[in-house]
């Protein structure tokens, strides 16, 4: 008899196949080392021409709207900031890691569109909240549905059946996952990020995205991601499988201290950055 399917068993199955590149680990260590210099970071980055090209494009994108052209990697690091650099490199590594999944399993393009839209929205809101590392919010938005990706890869028939069921019965996919499997994509995502030894703030935010007020330490982050997921679904910018706009948690909305009249401006910011960022991450 097969062992029962759990969120942990799904993650154990993929942790060898989908692990973060050695390059990222070295960069992360260098960023955290107080004695490393800008040039050390640039040297590590220069090992990977694709990442360098993406970072330069990012530094020159609508995300930063810098007045003059940034043409060296050290300059790009000073614009982006060293703390933020690690999160952006991690974002590009993860997208690259899950690039070659067959279209029949999951529409990766649509999946990343939804994830990127959620990330951009989270980044915009965190700018309003004066957060010091807005790229951390972008990264959390980008990763929020990563657990669903693992489910698409390992149990594609099951997950596609659940999607069809939800469409015919007006049910939210994460609730159907929980009911049918005993866990949802947020649980899987949290365990995967834990297996990658990412900071607890990222792991827990992903885990609590559908019940943001229950997180003890990272409720603020979880509220931003919850709200951004609602916006990205409403705007129909890609899809990670969910067919409906999820209900907005009223307490989470209140905690963001935004006004509903700000929504058009938030959408405006998202739209301005969306094509640029898609081009950088998906090209």
């Amino acid at each position: 008899m097969n062992a029962p399917l759990t969120a942990q068993s799904l993650v154990n199955n993929v942790s060898q196949l989908y692990s973060l590149p050695d390059f990222y680990t070295r960069l992360d260590e260098a960023i955290r080392d107080p004695f490393s210099e800008l040039q050390d970071l640039a040297n590590i980055l220069s090992d990977d021409a694709v990442i360098c090209a993406r970072l330069l494009k990012l530094a020159n994108s609508a995300l930063y709207s810098f007045p003059s052209k940034i043409d060296t990697i050290t300059r790009a690091i000073t614009i982006i900031g060293t703390k933020q650099l690690g999160d952006l490199v991690l974002a590009t590594c993860v997208v690259a890691l899950f690039r070659n999944i067959p279209k029949e399993t999951v529409d990766m393009d649509s999946f990343w569109r939804h994830s990127i839209a959620t990330g951009i929205c989270a980044r915009v809101i965190s700018t309003y909240q004066r957060e010091d590392n807005v790229e951390r919010f972008y990264l959390m938005g980008l990763l929020h549905d990563i657990g669903r990706l693992i489910m698409f890869i390992h149990i594609p028939e099951q997950i596609n059946e659940h999607i069809q069921f939800c469409k015919s019965n007006n049910v939210l996919l994460h609730l159907q996952e929980k009911k049918a499997l005993g866990f949802d994509h947020a649980d899987v995502g949290q365990l995967l990020l834990k297996s990658w030894s990412l900071p607890q703030s990222i792991e827990e935010t992903v885990g609590f995205q559908h019940r943001p007020m229950s997180s003890v330490e990272f409720s603020k982050e979880a509220c931003v991601i919850h709200f951004s997921d609602v916006v990205a679904n409403a705007l129909q910018l890609g899809s990670s499988g969910e067919s409906y706009v999820p209900p907005l948690n009223e307490k989470a909305w209140q905690s963001l201290k935004l006004q509903s009249s700000q929504i058009p401006t938030i959408i405006d910011h998202i739209e301005k950055q969306y094509d640029d960022i898609l081009d950088i991450f998906l090209s």
């Binding site: 007006n170 705007l235 509903s260 959408i267």
Partner: protein, 112 residues
């Protein structure tokens, strides 16, 4: 004095109250004439509406696109959008804003 959404402001309008961001940071004082650069500053700091002297010149003309579309098409668009919002509280101001934006977007796509 009229509170007016940023997208409806005509350049040269006079602020009747100080414009401040959500944290109370002063951006432009009452009596100033609103110029292009000020609109950019308001957007940057997340200000979505300000108070000006006089009337809202575009009041009532917000959804002009909606009048240019075949009512049947509009009905179909609204039905599709409403289906995606079926699990939400449609009266919530956030959902109202999101829904209105999507309806106008789909109408524009249809007309283009």
């Amino acid at each position: 004095m009229t509170t007016i959404k940023l997208k409806h402001i005509e350049l040269g309008a006079i602020l009747s109250d100080d414009a401040k961001d959500v944290n109370g940071r002063m951006l432009l004082s009452a009596g100033s004439e609103i110029q292009e650069k000020h609109l950019k500053i308001f957007k940057t700091w997340g200000v979505t509406e300000v108070s000006i002297i006089g009337d809202d010149p575009l009041e009532g003309e917000v959804d002009i696109e909606l009048f240019n579309v075949d009512p049947k098409v509009l009905e179909q668009i609204e039905q599709d959008i409403d289906q995606s919002f079926i699990l939400t509280n449609k009266e919530h101001p956030v959902n109202r804003e999101l829904r209105e934006y999507m309806v106008i977007k789909k109408v524009k796509e249809h007309l283009s």
